[in-house]
């Protein structure tokens, strides 16, 4: 394997690991608000790594110009925080329960 292939492999594995951990966060964390942190962060980095791996693979190993992946990254960075924002807004509106030891609940009017 050339070092480029190693790089792609490492990026894909690391990326998948982060996406997996983001999903673990969704299952494991105590309340709706904390669970949101998984998909907004870990998943962004995971998908970012996979996108970079894809770009390296197609541009340098297959040697065909391919920049489409930049769009995936761009839209991901724009949409992930907005999705999270809308979900929190809905949760606050419905006054979903927070984990017991959450501080500053009065700030959120909960």
């Amino acid at each position: 394997m050339s070092w480029l292939e190693w790089l792609v492999a490492v990026l894909v594995v690391a990326g998948s690991l982060f996406v997996l951990l983001g999903s673990v966060a969704l299952v494991k964390l105590p309340d709706f608000y904390t669970r949101l942190h998984g998909p907004t962060k870990a998943t962004t980095l995971g998908l970012g790594a996979i996108v970079i791996a894809s770009m390296v693979y197609f541009n340098f190993i297959k040697e065909e110009l391919s920049l489409q992946q930049l769009l995936i990254a761009l839209f991901l960075f724009i949409t992930a925080p907005i999705t999270a924002h809308m979900l929190v807004k809905a949760a606050l509106h419905l006054k979903l329960k927070t984990a017991e030891h959450t501080s500053g609940k009065q700030n959120a009017d909960l």
């Binding site: 982060f18 951990l21 673990v24 966060a25 494991k28 964390l29 105590p30 309340d31 608000y33 904390t34 949101l36 942190h37 998984g38 907004t40 962060k41 870990a42 962004t44 980095l45 970012g48 110009l65 391919s66 920049l67 489409q68 930049l70 769009l71 960075f77 724009i78 992930a80 925080p81 907005i82 999270a84 924002h85 929190v88 807004k89 606050l92 927070t98 984990a99 030891h101 959450t102 501080s103 500053g104 609940k105 700030n107 959120a108 909960l110």
Partner: protein, 169 residues
């Protein structure tokens, strides 16, 4: 000048549409270039009357520097969040905090809120008060996964993210 304005009411948006079209098709064949050009001309023609005028960038270099810094912070924030996720739930100190905003226009507040959501263990929830009048002090309501020191976090958000945004817009 007037004819340029008439044909290309929002040149930056046209350029952006054109680039996105080329990237989507992943090809620079004549047909795609031509059709991209048509779309870049037609779409702004149809929609420019609906647009809300946003403030222009005062300082593009600062914007690029900001973008790179945020990318780096996303990586750091991710590692932190992964560590927190793998640790026991009991050790988390979740909290809602209010960050007072100096920014006033919607675009820069949106960018700040998005940045906060993507970085250090925080998700922005709301801009308060909901129906703020023009001169009222506004707050960003932020949910923190693991809060160590409220004042320190507020200072960090203001200094690291809000201050450069004030320079850009």
């Amino acid at each position: 000048m007037t004819s340029i304005k008439k044909w290309w009411p929002t040149p930056v948006r046209s350029l952006f549409l054109f680039l996105v079209w080329i990237l989507l098709n992943n090809s620079v064949e004549f047909f795609h270039l031509f059709f991209g050009l048509v779309l870049a001309w037609l779409i702004p023609q149809l929609i420019y009357k609906f647009r809300l005028v946003q403030p222009g960038m005062k300082n593009p270099t600062a914007a690029i520097r900001y973008g790179l810094m945020v990318l780096w912070d996303i990586v750091v924030a991710n590692l932190q969040v992964v560590k927190l996720v793998l640790g026991p739930n009991k050790r988390l100190r979740p909290a809602f905090i209010k960050v007072p905003l100096d920014l006033t226009d919607n675009l820069s507040i949106t960018i700040l809120a998005s940045t906060v959501s993507l970085t250090p263990g925080t998700v922005s929830a709301e801009v308060l008060p909901l129906n703020a009048s023009k001169d009222e002090q506004r707050f960003l309501l932020v949910h923190v996964l693991d809060l160590a020191d409220e004042a320190e976090l507020i200072r960090q958000v203001k200094q690291r993210y809000e201050a450069p945004l004030k320079e850009i817009f």
